[in-house]
Subunit: 394 residues, 2 copies
Amino acid sequence: MLLVSKSEIERRVARIVSAITSRGLEGLYLASPANIAYVTNFIFTPTERPIAAFIDSGGEVTLFVPFLEYEHALKYSYADNIVYYEEYPGEVHPMVFIGGKLREMGFEGMRVGYDVDGYGHVFGYRGPKLSDVLKASFSYERDVVESLRIVKSNVEIELMRESAKWASYAHRLLQDYVRPGALEDEVSLWASAEATIAMAKALGERYRPWGWTSGARASFRGQVGPHSYYPHSHNIHAVIKRGHVLVTGATAMVSGYGAELERTMIVGGPTQEQEKYFNMMLEARRIAMENVRPGVKCSDVDRVVRRYFKERGIWDMWRHHVGHGIGLEYHEAPFLDVGDERELKPGMTITIEPGIYVRNLGGFRHSDTILVTEDGYEKITVYPESLEDLIIEA
Amino acid sequence: MLLVSKSEIERRVARIVSAITSRGLEGLYLASPANIAYVTNFIFTPTERPIAAFIDSGGEVTLFVPFLEYEHALKYSYADNIVYYEEYPGEVHPMVFIGGKLREMGFEGMRVGYDVDGYGHVFGYRGPKLSDVLKASFSYERDVVESLRIVKSNVEIELMRESAKWASYAHRLLQDYVRPGALEDEVSLWASAEATIAMAKALGERYRPWGWTSGARASFRGQVGPHSYYPHSHNIHAVIKRGHVLVTGATAMVSGYGAELERTMIVGGPTQEQEKYFNMMLEARRIAMENVRPGVKCSDVDRVVRRYFKERGIWDMWRHHVGHGIGLEYHEAPFLDVGDERELKPGMTITIEPGIYVRNLGGFRHSDTILVTEDGYEKITVYPESLEDLIIEA
């Protein structure tokens, strides 16, 4: 089954308990949706109604939810206790309610860590911080769960591998459906719908979808032709034309986990310039990957790629670091970035995606999700990478 | 044109300046993506890389972005200044960088308001609060922009009306495509794709999409059959069957604005019980709507509907308040909730959506987006509401 089991959740909670105990904390408050999913298996859509999890040093997990999520949480979460407040903003503000409950639970005056001091200001939320509504000795301990999440368990790796398969399938459909004259939406929506439906039919109840309209997705996000120059472009309803550079993105959500697959494609025969930057991008990737193995610092992988950009005289085309951790969140720690001094460890899943951005021409970026192994790495996303395999006949 | 103009943004900034001046503030820091869009017109996908806007008491708007968003922001935003940091986490943490820039800009020791103290902890973000990196007299002033956003301008209302049309179109396709035996995904993905492509072709560059895969969307989000009992269900790849109650949701993003349209549908002839709760839901809606007019408190609209549930003996089927403001965010202030004492004013756009949730049977909820007018309200979403129009022949 492609599901996170109760025993998996219990192992995670036990490790968190030992981390908070060693820090001298009596409790840990979590308001990041991914952290809450990590310790309770409850998947929800964040709104202005705060949802939080609290873990005490005995390993008891309490989930705070609005009334309208109470039975949903009872059905799907593994929390030991589920406590609900009536509504947001309500006659008693939810954060005041949560502070009061923690007081009842005996945490006034205790040492309490948090990942967010209150609530993350989603939608129209407005309200006090947790530290405004409970007198305790608070500290910012966002790295407790982060440091566990960066190394994946066997189950998590299995979910990432399953995600990668469906991301590849969605991407294959995307590539098959590209044609000059098509709107980016036509290509990406039909490919994504078809892949999602196939996923639902093939996997059935052996996995859990995530989100309101979850499944597999492959798209361009506006990175079509010269507009692919913007690394985080949005959909612009672009019309695909012969000569365009396309930068894609594909993923699939499998019980909360998603791998990332991105490719650069060229519509019609590439120009010499397009071929040049495409090959430099492949070279930057190769350099990044050959540096991935346990013990290497994340920062050093970024440094060797930065050096490559400078040596080849394309530093003005650099826009972002080499990659990021990925799992329950699409971008998570660790970061292959000069500012992240952590060492790579077996079990980490990270993206490798150096990009070259050429004004008036476009972006050149592949992204693969890799698993750090005992002696190097393994690609979790498998999809053709060479220019000849990524030329769209037109 | 269905776009937010520079002069519209300037009017908003001028009103914010007068609000912060009257509160004795020298500057306002905004990290909520919707608030940033409101004052700069910059639409972006929030990641671990912080993005923030700062408005000084002279009306100058500075946008802080990561390098990879710099030219994207130059192209699409109306901010007066755009300042970029290199990367997250980077050799200098982005929040430390922003604090330093605000110091250079002269805000050390000044009175600065914020909507979020730092950054909203999106994805793998970890870092200090704004109040940790700049010595200033800080206060939580999230209501400054909120209080402007709750009353819509003419342009905003026009965008909401356009959204409502496409939401209706997507919903019509959804209703047409429902059939017993179909996966919820098949129905919703094809309807959403078709409506989005029609929207792109009909409107072209007269509007801006929003988000990576934006457009129109109509779906069930798992609210199929007995699972429609969960008000905030997620997609469960449900198979639609004769006798099911279905609760839908449709919207379309038009230059950042979206209306909400939801309907309860019955597959095949309804049972007496289904008909009973459907009609009670219509009655709760009618009571809510007849109370909507300028001067009425938001809380009172919720109270009359709560009273109806109690009088009819269905309080155990109550799960949430009557509705919420809607515009740049799908849920925003004001809330038709006992905890919101604000008065309704002309120009507010809010949803009316009392719901009845019956265990083992399902949910009964329509949602319409309405505009408060001088003498009452006007429905912005227009779609059949009666049971006979919402029975799926099967």
